[in-house]
Amino acid sequence: MRDIRLLHQMFIPGTLIGPFTQANPGLGGVCTFVGEVRYDQGVEALELTHYEPLTLPGMHELADRAFARFELMGLLMVHRVGVLRPGEPIVCVSAAALHRRDAIDAVDFCMDHLKSAAWFWKREKRDGQWHWIEPREQDHSDLARWQA
């Protein structure tokens, strides 16, 4: 079961995860990560821009790599685009597998790649002004863990 989506509207992760788990009968474990817009000091909104011809195919390619690298039964990967308010979910990745290590590692792998190698550009609004978010060193070192 594979479900890869870009969403333009607010979503409630629980409404995706329940059906996803049901769609993978016989799983041993399911690991899910949900990222939300933090209430960082003074941040009023976050905007995610994407370039459709690259972003969605890039997510599918990432899913292919996760299926090739881990023993997975299912993978759900949903990412918001557009303007988000603090507290809203940005991303939800869920992996179902026979064994917990594959499920947990697949989520970790997908999140590291979505965070620093996927075609999204983010800016945040503080005091009414938009500021682009630059890549962080931590994101690169997270990604490097998977290059062995």
Partner: protein, 79 residues
């Protein structure tokens, strides 16, 4: 016409998310048509270029024809 799409920060430098230029268009023609700060920025190797949704390895070899879309892509934002 060729459509030029600016992503992220480059859209701010361009002052618009996209632009139409006459076909045919090569790399030198594209840079000549852009404001100088933007022309300089797109030369930075961290900024990538896609033609009709496919990344191109060699920007300088860009050749766009009628109806093509060129996207100028700064580094993604991360976390």
């Amino acid at each position: 016409m060729v459509t030029i799409v600016f992503l992220g920060k480059l859209a701010d430098l361009a002052g618009a998310p996209s632009l139409q230029l006459s076909a045919p268009l090569d790399w030198a023609g594209l840079k000549a048509a852009l404001p100088s700060a933007l022309a300089e920025a797109v030369d930075d190797p961290r900024n990538r270029v896609a033609l009709n949704g496919a990344l191109i390895a060699d920007k300088a070899g860009l050749q766009a024809g009628e109806g093509d879309e060129i996207a100028l892509l700064p580094p993604v934002s991360g976390g």
